[in-house]
């Protein structure tokens, strides 16, 4: 039992000598991490959303320009941790520079996101936001896939049942959805099974892309599947 050996890794692609490959890898990484980085920056440095957005934009631009991620060593840490440390360094430098030129010394204090209370630390917050971003990307991709394949009904059922899981008796929910969508219960469960399988596949495919190797992929998959805490 083992996982496929050949796999595309945007983390590795980000330091590729090929410019096209690098650019593609950056797109993948930015798509996966833009939201969590932006939220993390806003929370950690008490910035308003617009400033956090600018800093995030600046961080990714600088990382691409200066090829920051080429120094990433998968044997030392997960890419997610490495990225967060890079963000910390970048923002700290930017703020220092801003203070020196007496610009932006008074950052706007925003209301602390109450989600921080649920996370034991900023690192947990960053991780939780990353999970949220991964799931959001996967749900969007699932929706596109369903539209392309003419399975809109499957996505609508998935969105009704699995995005809004209210912990009711599953059988009762299937019957309710069957009545709502004028379908037999068996078709509801078949559509849902297909959508769920695709959702899992998409999440894991995206995860493979943004991890450097199988070991990191397995650790992050354990996290997404809730088996391990970090």
């Amino acid at each position: 039992m083992s996982f496929p050996v050949t796999r595309y890794s945007a983390v590795r692609g980000a330091s590729s000598a090929d410019r096209g490959e690098r650019s593609r890898a950056w797109d993948v990484l930015a798509a996966a991490y833009w939201q969590p980085v932006c939220k993390y920056v806003a929370l950690k440095w008490r910035l308003d959303p617009a400033d956090a957005k600018d800093l995030t934009q600046g961080f990714f631009a600088a990382a691409i320009e200066k090829d920051h991620f080429a120094s990433y060593d998968p044997s030392k840490a997960r890419f997610r941790t490495f990225l967060r440390v890079c963000v910390d360094g970048y923002v700290a430098n930017e703020r220092k520079a801003a203070t020196r030129v007496k610009r932006g010394g008074a950052s706007v204090c925003v209301e602390v996101d109450d989600r921080i209370a649920a996370s034991s630390s900023l690192e947990d917050y960053f991780r939780d936001e990353w999970v949220r971003s991964m799931f959001a990307m996967a749900v969007e991709e699932l929706q596109r896939l369903c539209d392309d394949r003419g399975k809109t009904i499957a996505y609508r059922l998935f969105a009704r049942y699995d995005l809004e899981d209210e912990g009711r008796d599953p059988e009762a929910n299937y019957r309710m959805l069957a009545a709502e969508f004028a379908l037999p219960v068996t078709q509801v469960t078949n559509h849902l099974a297909w959508a769920r399988r695709e959702f899992r596949r998409i999440v894991l495919d995206r995860l493979r892309e943004i991890t450097a190797d199988n070991e990191e992929f397995e650790k992050e998959a354990q996290l997404l599947l809730g088996i391990c805490s970090n």
Binding site: M1, S2, F3, Q35, R115, A118, D128, V131, R132, S133, F135, A136, M137, A138, V139, E140, D162, L163, E164, D165, A193, R196, R197, F199, R200, R201, V203, L204, N214, F217, E218, A221, Q222, L224, L225, G226, I227, C228
Partner: protein, 296 residues
Amino acid sequence: MLELSDRNVAALRRVLEQPDSNGRYHPVREIARGGMGVVWEADDRELGRRVALKILPFGAASADWLCREARVLAGLEHPGIVPVHDAGLLADGRAFYAMKLVQGNRLDQAVAGLTRNQRLRIFQRICEPVEFAHSRGIIHRDLKPENVMVGEFGEVLVMDWGVAKLSSGGPETGIIGTPQYMAPEQAAGANDTVDQRSDVYGLGGILQFLLADQPSSRPLQAICKKAMAQDPRERYATAAAMSADVGKFLEGEPVSAYRENPFEVAWRWMARHRTLVLLFLGYVVMRALVLYFLGR
């Protein structure tokens, strides 16, 4: 980008966790969760029965581990060991195996309200599959109340053979087991010296657990003490020998682990032959009454 709430994320995580075996097993509910994986109750649609699906976290090492446990279980056909029906990979790559679904409770939940003797009989039934495994060269290495199930018809099953040591297995490193029930040689990581007496230590821990809230009895304490001796040579040589000693206690006979004084011997004899003693006392009383009323 789509903005998901915490509730959405939790719901999607549940979707992600659900086992997808490409149709054969339909998940019904999560039964248990631990560091070594998740156990789901599932419908086996091929054979029309309920099974327990044990699913391990991602990772090739975990898959190897699961295969190993499945192989160990498949080689142990005993009423006290849960039979394995199937093993493989889920659609997402996680390893799983399907086993008989045991309807019942874990030992630590099942013994509440049971008398001491009922608990001791359950203990004897725990010893049976352990002894059977030993006869096949397999040492469980993680015997504890949480790894024993008591079914709703009184069947006793020893679970979690994932860390079992096979006599044919190669050298192993690391500490294996649960600290509270782990023999000293296991705690020291001396896996080469681990043998059936290490399981006897675990059985001693289980017996101690079963008797924790029961009236103390010196012979039973001595049985626990002998089973949990620091030096493996001082323990019972086999699970069967320990079970036999518990059986002797239940029968009112002297146990090998404890030397009784004459008073204890007499007391045990009277307890064992209670009816006879009562009859004899009745005879004496009757004699006294006859003497009192008719002897004058």
